[in-house]
């Protein structure tokens, strides 16, 4: 990648014996919406703290906007917006006071840069005199994003902005991120919600400090490499057990109101699976080929990793 906004090479960090991040390498382009996707313990927060110049790496390096996170930390801090995973605004300051504070430490004012945060801030402006600690989860998140944006950063680092947030607020938040990206801001975001991967330009799937895969969500699902079937019957609990017992079963797991199933037998069809299940006494069997989601891919990659 030519002139990436973020360049990470072999980045490694341990806490005592615990390897939090193992030799991560990735480039992120200007204006890209990039997601680090993985459960707790994947190393996401460590990575964000390293990029935000709040931690020193054990080995490897990271550059943000061409500055090294160790030697160039002062420049980086001026040009990035960082939203930590834990709500870290001043709970006993009002909404407006928080924004003025963050504008002030970056040498600007809310008036001067109002246009930058307007789209997001107008949602919470009616509550500008309310103390931040008294806001609902969705509103806190919008205030935190406004505070991270007020100094016109070129790169936004958002560590799990949607964790514990309901599905509606999450959807709204991702719409805001899309708008920011369209303004040319590089947005780096982490999340444990697999379905949010599809909303990113590219993602890194992570587990236990290691990258399982980096690519566009479309390419990751295209590389799934198995025929995937979505299966339903009248007795879902029994269905899962029966599918796991089939001779050629590669994997079977609950997926919403269906079971996702892959077979070792490449000749397997919807019909052959359905026949098998009907023979085992299942009623109202529905077997449909479906396209894999990122969560299907993550589960497959985890299994490969665990077996390796």
């Amino acid at each position: 990648m030519i002139n990436p906004h973020i360049h990470i090479e072999g980045l490694t960090k341990s806490y005592g014996n615990e390897k939090a991040l193992k030799a991560l390498s990735v480039d992120i382009a200007k204006g890209e919406l990039f997601g680090f996707i993985g459960p707790d313990g994947a190393g996401k927060t460590t990575l964000f703290r390293l990029l935000a110049t709040l931690l020193l790496p054990d080995s490897g390096s990271a550059e943000v906007l061409g500055y090294d996170t160790v030697s160039g930390y002062k420049e980086i801090r001026k040009q990035i917006g960082y939203m930590p995973g834990k709500f870290s605004l001043y709970q006993d300051l009002s909404v407006e006071e928080n924004l003025n504070f963050f504008a002030g430490i970056h040498g600007t004012t809310l008036q001067e840069n109002y246009h930058l945060v307007q789209d997001i801030y107008q949602h919470i402006e009616p509550f500008k005199n309310r103390r931040a600690g008294k806001l609902s989860g969705g509103m806190k998140q919008k205030l935190a994003l406004s505070c991270a944006l007020i100094h016109q950063p070129k790169v936004l680092l958002l560590d799990e902005p949607t964790t514990g947030v309901d599905a509606v607020s999450r959807q709204e938040f991702w719409e805001m991120l899309k708008n920011l990206k369209e303004k040319g801001i590089t947005v780096v975001v982490s999340t444990p919600y697999m379905d949010e991967a599809a909303l990113c330009d590219r993602v890194a799937l992570m587990q236990k400090g290691s990258v399982l895969k980096i690519n566009t969500p479309q390419q990751i699902t295209a590389e799934f490499g198995h025929a995937l079937f979505s299966i339903r019957s009248d007795t879902m609990f029994k269905l899962l057990g029966d599918l796991l017992q089939l001779e050629n079963t590669h994997a079977a797991f609950r997926f919403g109101d269906t079971i996702h199933f892959t077979s070792h037998n490449k000749e397997e069809t919807s019909q052959s699976i359905a026949n098998n299940l009907i023979a085992q006494g299942h009623h109202n069997v529905v077997v449909e080929p479906v396209l894999p989601t990122i969560e299907d891919c993550f589960i497959l990659l985890m299994k490969m990793e665990n077996n390796a």
Binding site: G38, D40, G138, V168, S169, G256
Partner: protein, 251 residues
């Protein structure tokens, strides 16, 4: 669903809870059957936590008739607490105690004898295939394992009802599914599971789901019926359709 074989273990009629002028729970009505997996969903700030606190006997309602495990939430909170288990993502066990010590501590709180605690601890750890880590402190154990242990600890006193408040937040997709296997097993054994989650695929795993919006229960039915009523194909769409209007009003 309530049947003759599966009597209600939670009965809520006209539950109202006010804080000053704010109405957190605005006339809630629902029953939960024995052995049911009941999903309790809602947007942030919809009033779920208040309702759960009332059902657990930790907060007195403003008005309404509410019984849990046959006991009244105004007068019999001590009896209720003995019949329920509780775990959440945020707090479930003591990080600097070992696995064994956590079981001992919770068993002791519920008044179990040392012999019973020892037997149940061994049995539950064996089932989880975690007997090997019983002397490790909680902070040495991965999150997914911890959540499975926390669920077992919440049931050490064999409660009638277990409340799970976002039990799978941040847990990897494989462990998340294993956790649901444990929920199914508990329900198969007649334990009522009252669960909140922000993962909408997990809403599909519940027998019935209620969706709270702005202090009220906006919908309550099986996932299948809810999808059909709203004319959509997933619980995610059901949730967004029901919760969105309110959310726009409140910013």
């Amino acid at each position: 669903m309530i049947t003759k074989q599966r009597p209600p273990v939670i009965q809520v009629q006209n539950l109202v809870k006010r804080f000053g002028n704010f109405i957190a729970n605005d006339n809630l009505n629902f029953d939960v059957a024995q052995g049911e997996i009941f999903g309790f969903l809602g947007a942030n700030g919809a009033g779920k936590t208040t309702a759960i606190k009332i059902l657990c006997g930790l907060m007195t309602p403003t008005s309404g008739q509410i019984s849990v495990a046959g006991f009244d939430v105004y007068r019999q909170t001590d009896q209720i607490k003995k019949q329920i288990g509780y775990m959440s993502q945020k707090f479930s066990m003591y990080e600097d105690l070992t696995v064994k010590e956590n079981f001992q501590f919770y068993g002791g709180i519920y008044g179990l004898s040392n012999i019973v605690i020892r037997e149940r601890t061994a049995e539950m750890l064996d089932k989880l295939q975690m007997s090997g880590i019983k002397n490790k402190t909680l902070n040495e154990i991965p999150l997914g394992w911890k959540q499975k242990l926390a669920f077992s600890v919440a049931m050490i006193h064999r409660p009638l009802i277990v409340f799970l408040d976002e039990p799978t937040g941040g847990v990897d997709p494989i462990t998340r599914r294993q956790f649901w296997e444990m929920i199914y097993e508990a329900a198969n054994n007649g334990i009522t599971v009252f669960v909140t989650t922000h993962y909408m695929d997990e809403a599909e795993y519940c027998e019935r789901v209620s969706i709270m919006v702005d202090g009220r229960i906006e919908a309550l039915d099986t996932p299948k019926n809810l999808r059909e009523q709203q004319g959509v194909s997933s619980m995610n769409e059901v949730f967004i359709k029901l919760a969105r209007k309110q959310n726009l009003n409140n910013g």
